[in-house]
Subunit: 749 residues, 2 copies
């Protein structure tokens, strides 16, 4: 799955302004990191530098290319034998690197398409459902094993109904349609991909009582309007189809019949009719060619401003005379899925640094997920080389390759549900990559406490094209637009350094169960570029070799980023979490919330108690940072250090609400969740924010209490940190003090 | 020709703000006009109202439709026998209305196309130059007499060269192209229609040493992106070609071999090689279909942001491998053209109120110019009916139907050049219409002193759809966007009335020689709508009957507007010119100029002397208005009244510079001219503004002096008015005082 999460310009601008003040000191010091590393005692910096140098010397573009060729050798969709073959190959690779690797199997309720048929029946009969065309030079593109275009978890159906075009099928689009006096009830809605998760499009079509949904790829969004199409360029050709799931992962991801528990053979399963994550209306993806035929046949009024796309027709709403016949036979079964779990055991097995990506693909999946998998293999191989040279990780490194991410994060969700207690006790962080490489532009999302780690690590990895650091190239790219589009309210001409903002974690890849359900700090990294073949036949090796990363240099760079992130988290004395930055994010959101609540005239004290709790969290974060910043060498014994680290990790878990969010209890994180009507993009303070949007005062009050309680719990854990780190804290008795010193770059902890 | 002149939003907004203050009083009073009419003595108001009522009762949609059917009976391009037949029919119509009508002939240098051939020769051979396709139901669309797509006044040529795409082919586009390191020298430039006169595109291509120019119609601009295409809707279908002239009318319009003098048989002619208005590079218009083939074949880099149009390909610049062969054989000849001049003689033949439109068309010309012609015929018939019932106009009404407007304003220009002295002595104003009706939206441009007359007259004509006044509907349409897009700097929420701004007169229709060359106050009116078939085969009767004005009610409304404008100017005691409004326009432009000169660091005193002269003009305009506003009944004898009217008309002539504008001496008006690099749109203070843009200090100084001198002369004539109208002015002896009284709506003169 994995859809890049974009910061809106406004959000981006606002984040820049806020962060500029808080973090300007950090930038100046980032350039002189060789002397210190955040979270490391001075005495251990040199050893860590040496380890990282060695690790970074290993990843090899040629090996990454060979791995990708193997991974894309055949279509390997979840639920097929080919997916099992990829899992077995991966397991064997890890074993050859010296990891302890196994395959973990779950049994999930998973459909495959048996028949997809679409035809125009009025004003004239015409067969639709055209397939993706073979492309000269790319032999994979004529592989007969490629699955037809379908949306996973659509129900079966056989409907004939008129068509109505609803732009992107968002909440706003349905509002606009209603104001035109047009309803989709009993009709087939035709919408284009973009501006949200396709499962939200399906849910909204269901809520508006549509008889069916067609989702097509408009050339304005990722086709010829965006740029040259495959095979001339990297963008979507007219026949390409974006497959993808419509499972309502915004309610809960994973196996729809085992919400909250692992899909083991013995698990208790609900009936499909009771599964809230299963869509109720038939949904099929179509290519731009078919959409063009339908759009040209539509009557009725002209579409509103902004609804016209890039196809060479005048877009209309449709007035009823254009009828389609849609027949969809889905083969729902309990099917096995295969997660690969590989461990490089550390000195302690009680702390886990986890990395992961999925291995299943809609067809060949060169970018999605092969590029990330190939990079992760090179990172793992590099860790294996270190281990063979005598190094033993301080913490255990766990690398996971998930099955069935594409249909709705099944492999990761089931594993997290199976291991939630252990994860909450042991996991330090989860590092995700997915569509790892589609171009040269570094991109990252993270829990805010890990933003600084990503900035630090990318400062120490070279960008293959420029020879500068990945961080420097990334910063220049993200802050350059600022020169042209001045941020209103910012001081024009100011030379104050601007910190590079990271995205928020929404949904769209396997960090979701870790972060949103189990409260494990998470981050997600990739190198991005022009990528129009998402979820199509053409996301194959030839595409990657000609457009995404012809030299595979960025695969190797991603391996270095992943490996260095793992090493930092694995080896740190004090885990490098930055809670003041998290507090800034929360404070900004709670200020927004107060303003919106005031405009909405939402009664009650919700916004105030959230504001107070945010302030308390910020104060506790500052106290903890100060205490850690003034630690002197030798002040900590290892038990105290362990306890501090456990508290630092535990802040994120403290932000979970045990009862979950209103209406979707699987989602427990009170600060971030995928938006109920966005699907991929993160909603910040989701419970209060969405109940405010819905003008639901009772839920708003309840979610405010829940959020404030979570912030209080989190503040308490930070105060634990402050107490443990302060000189007066009683030292843990009977344990020899670890060799220690001033923690690296102290004021910035 | 006639291309609507659009106000940019900024200009529009700025005009609104400026005018709001100056004219807010006018609006309140416009609603109560029945008691008074601007420029009329109270004693004559009732008679004028009666005349106007009668006039407005005559125009008949059925007759307008019948006239249009006759006017569009065959293709009637200038230079053909069919154009003469239309002229003769028009002459006979006027004679039947009781006018004194004749045909005036000139002999002009005019090309017709003999052969137009275009083919792709690389990367593959393919014939281009596709014709306009017949449309079911519209039998005119299969008329074999329709001329091929060609650009009048292109030279003949036979070239084979690579193609480069240059967006709209504007100054900015060539700058962008240069910054990409690409040149059109020796190549064929492919540009799209829009953002300026096609003759400017040709001139710029020539200046950049292109070997040829193709101009195509992009669906984004007037095709399927804009709306449904003909015959489903009013927009341009893929095969439609926009014909049109590329004569450099921005240098001088009219017969290229007789600049400044009438093209009589005896006139002295320059050699074509010496005619500065003749384009030097071959230029051909093509349809979107052909453009699509060429664009799809182009290599090279992607186009800059904003250059991608609406065709279903990714647009490229072109890198040399795409070659075209263009063969163009033009048949240049001295050819006769036929102007129709019809007069309804007044009590005095010493003052002329002139109305005009052209009669030649590229093919059938239903909208352009037939709709305006048909409306003007109904206005003329209504005046004829009044005359037969015993009324005799106070001034002579002259109605003109020009030939050869399309190739470059030939008929009107030659007639103005032939009659310049008489016009400058007698003409009160020139009222133009051209593409008279393409929809229900009233639109007008005028010399600023006549803006108020247009507002007044449209307040007294009913909009056929709503039953409200044309003015009210027009005002609501133009001021409604303001609600959504607030004007920066204006007081939001203010209920101050906003005056309706008119466009400035640029070029693009036959008012140009009257206004820009002879200094005759002019205005231009029409009802506009969605109109994508401009200059194509499809601008025919069927189009008008289905889209432009199916009931012909707006043809009748336009006839009422034209007739009422004529009556007001014909019958007024004191001509209703409003110079304070003109002064506001000039002052705003001179302030802009000062700001731009300061930014450009233009040396010298140019901007200051222009500013001072603008202030002087404004002060004189205010004095004249005050003096006229305090006239008491009986204060004027008829000679003084005549002298005041002569002065009021003469202000516009005083704004001419005898030596003309730098580099284009035919254009004498110092306040408005078509932009040298815009072509249709008006440049205000053109001499100083363009020399400032060109950073030419010497010309700037010279043009500043010339402009300031013109403003001084104009101020002197206004001071004459003030002197004549003031109570102490000596009355003209020996003439009986005319019956007189307080002039209508005095403070608003």
């Amino acid at each position: 799955m994995r859809h890049s999460i974009k910061l809106s310009l406004l959000r981006f601008a606002s984040a820049l302004v806020v962060l500029a003040g808080v973090l300007s000191a950090a930038i100046a010091s980032r350039t002189q990191t060789s002397a210190s590393i955040r979270g490391f005692l001075p005495s251990r910096v040199e050893a860590e530098r040496d380890l990282e140098r060695k690790l970074q010397g290993t990843p090899d573009p040629a090996r990454a290319e060979a791995a990708l060729r193997r991974l894309t050798a055949e279509p390997h969709m979840a639920g097929t034998e080919a997916s099992r073959r990829v899992a077995e190959w991966l397991r064997d690779q890890y074993r050859s690197f010296g990891f302890d690797a196994e395959i973990v199997t779950y049994s999930v309720w998973l459909p495959l398409p048996r028949e997809v048929k679409l035809e125009l029946v009025a004003p004239e009969e015409k067969a639709l459902g055209s397939r993706e065309q073979p492309v000269a030079g790319d032999r994979d593109s004529s592989d007969p094993r490629a699955v037809v275009g379908f949306n996973s978890y659509s129900p079966s159906a056989d409907v004939t109904a008129p068509v109505v075009y609803v732009n992107y099928g968002t909440v706003q689009d349905y509002n606009d349609l209603e104001s035109l006096g047009v309803s989709v009830a009993g009709k087939i809605a035709l919408v284009r991909y973009g501006r949200g998760y396709r499962g939200v499009k399906s849910k909204l079509a269901e809520e508006h009582k549509a008889a069916g949904l067609l989702i097509y790829s408009d050339p304005q969004d990722d086709g010829y309007v965006a740029g040259d199409t495959y095979p001339r360029g990297p963008w979507r050709p007219l026949s390409a189809i974006q497959r993808g799931s419509v499972l309502y992962t915004q309610i809960y991801p994973g196996d729809p019949l085992t919400p909250g528990v692992a899909a083991t053979p013995a698990a208790r399963r609900i009936a499909p009719a009771d599964a809230a994550s299963l869509p109720r209306i038939p949904t099929v993806p179509i290519n731009a060619q078919d959409a063009s035929v339908i759009l040209a046949a539509l009557g009725g009024g002209r579409v509103p401003r902004g609804w016209q796309g890039g196809l060479p027709v005048t877009y209309h709403i449709g007035e009823g005379s254009t009828q389609l016949h849609l027949k969809l036979a889905m083969d729902y079964q309990q099917r096995p899925i295969y997660d690969v779990i590989a461990k490089l055991h550390g000195m302690s097995d009680n702390e886990w640094v986890i990395l992961g990506n999925h291995h299943d693909a809609w067809v060949f999946g060169a970018a999605d997920p092969g590029s990330g998998t190939s990079a992760m293999l090179e990172a793992a191989r590099a860790l294996g080389v270190l281990a063979r040279s005598g190094w033993k990780p301080r913490r255990t490194i766990v690398i996971c390759h998930w099955d069935a991410e594409e249909p709705g994060l099944l492999g990761s969700t089931e594993w997290v549900e199976a291991n939630r207690a252990a994860l909450q006790e042991k996991a330090v962080a989860y590092i995700n990559t997915d569509v790892g490489v589609t171009g040269p532009n570094f991109s990252a999302s993270a829990t805010p406490s890990l933003n600084e780690l990503v900035r630090d690590v990318t400062s120490d990895v070279k960008d293959p094209s420029s020879g500068r650091s990945v961080f420097d190239v990334w910063r220049d790219r993200l802050t350059r637009p600022q020169i042209e589009e001045r941020i209103p309210g910012s001081e024009a001409g100011s030379d104050a350094p601007i910190e590079v903002p990271l995205g928020a974690l929404g949904a769209g890849s396997d960090f979701c169960p870790f972060y949103d359900h189990a409260g494990i700090p998470a981050l997600d990294v990739s190198f991005t570029g022009d990528y129009g073949v998402y979820h199509s036949l053409y996301d194959d090796f030839y595409w990657m070799k000609h457009f995404g990363d012809p030299s595979f240099a960025y695969h190797a760079a991603l391996a270095r980023v992943l490996g260095t992130l793992a090493l930092r988290l694995d080896e740190a004395d004090i885990l490098p979490f930055n809670y003041p930055e998290y507090a800034v994010e929360i404070k900004r959101a709670s200020d927004d919330l107060a303003a919106r609540a005031s405009i909405a005239r939402m009664q009650g004290q919700g916004a105030r108690i959230v504001g107070d709790a945010s302030d308390e969290f910020a104060a506790a974060a500052a106290r903890a940072a100060r205490a850690l910043g003034s630690l002197s060498p030798g002040a900590l014994d290892s038990e105290k250090e362990s306890q501090i680290n456990r508290d630092l990790v535990g802040v994120e878990q403290a932000l979970l609400a045990p009862q979950g969010l209103a209406g979707r209890s699987w989602y427990e994180h009170t600060i971030f969740a995928p938006g109920s009507y966005a699907g991929y993009a993160a909603e910040i303070l989701p419970g209060v924010s969405e109940s405010l949007d819905a003008n639901d005062a009772a839920t708003f009050a309840q979610e405010s209490d829940s959020l404030a309680a979570a912030l209080h719990r989190a503040a308490a854990r930070l105060d634990d940190v402050a107490r443990l780190a302060s000189p007066s804290a009683p030292s843990a008795a009977n344990l020899p003090p670890r060799p220690s010193g001033v923690l690296g770059v102290l004021p910035r902890f």
